[in-house]
């Protein structure tokens, strides 16, 4: 089989286009991360100057971000599934259960312990990051692990070093990174 330069180039262009289309669709989860990042950034930035109303406690704000992104993902009908019986399918079937149990425990701790609003926020963010890091380890996704660790460290630093500006700190160092990473990966071919 012989091909000319132009034919080979055309074929490679077709491959690139099909690959880019597919990658764009497979990265739909990034929109979820983007939504979560926007909710966290706006809510916590506002909270720096306008204390969160009781109905909008820190934990619920973070949960809203997570739930909104989940609902967003559900609306985008899945076009792929994990091969039944595969290791990936097993892990992905257990992850929602893990997240549910983890968050249930955290809600329990919130009631058992007398935590301040700031402590609730710091704990919620680190719980979500724990879930992110664990997901990264199970799925062998280095980006999840690195982002999870980075946001955890920055949240802890903000809690201890700048408690007066903690809300603005986590808006910048927890919310904005989610937005930044999402946009960067969405724009990447």
């Amino acid at each position: 089989m012989n091909l000319s330069h132009d034919e080979a180039q055309a074929a490679l262009n077709d491959i690139s286009q099909a690959t880019a289309q597919t990658n764009h669709l497979l990265r739909v989860w990034l929109y979820c991360t983007l939504v979560c990042g926007i909710v966290w950034t706006v809510a916590f930035a506002v909270a720096q100057w306008q204390p969160l109303a009781p109905i909008w406690s820190a934990g619920e704000t973070i949960l809203v971000g997570v739930v909104c992104s989940f609902l967003f993902a559900q609306r985008l009908s899945p076009v792929v599934r994990f091969t039944p019986g595969s290791r990936s399918a097993f892990i992905h079937s257990r992850l929602p259960i893990f997240f549910g149990v983890l968050y249930a425990f955290f809600i329990l701790w919130q009631f058992m312990l007398d935590l301040t609003t700031m402590q609730v926020a710091a704990l919620w963010i680190t719980v979500v990051m724990l879930a992110t890091i664990t997901t990264g380890l199970l799925l062998q996704q280095r980006l999840f692990i690195v982002c999870g660790l980075a946001i955890t460290v920055m949240t802890a630093l903000g809690y201890w070093l700048v408690p007066t500006y903690f809300w603005l700190w986590i808006a910048i160092f927890a919310g904005l990174p989610l937005i930044g990473v999402s946009l960067y990966l969405l724009r990447r071919r």
Binding site: A8, A11, L12, N23, V79, S86, S88
Partner: protein
């Protein structure tokens, strides 16, 4: 030297293989996704998929999801290797010239 593959090189089949290769291992895409992305009719897409399945480059699985029939397509390891080799051969043509 990488070899071109006549079965894969047909434009529609090439795009099918590119889509499936872009999906990570242990993942299947739906027939309707392929149909929508490629802009093909059921019959046309089905014929190309059958050709690739006969060559051992992909597997087709039929299942019921929420009581609706759904067809899933997954690239095989052989298909992935052959596609990568074909892509490499195309790049070599450009490199040689």
């Amino acid at each position: 030297m990488a070899q071109l593959n006549e079965v894969i090189h047909q434009p529609v089949r090439l795009r099918i293989m590119a889509i499936l290769a872009a999906v990570s291992t242990e993942r299947q895409v739906t027939f309707s996704f392929l149909k929508g992305t490629l802009g093909l009719t059921d019959g046309n897409l089905g014929a190309h998929l059958h050709k690739l399945e006969e060559a051992g480059y992909l597997t087709i699985t039929k299942a019921f999801v929420r009581q609706k029939p759904q067809t899933y397509v997954e690239i095989t390891e052989k298909g992935r290797q052959v596609f990568e080799e074909h892509r490499e051969a195309l790049k070599q043509i450009l490199g040689d010239e």
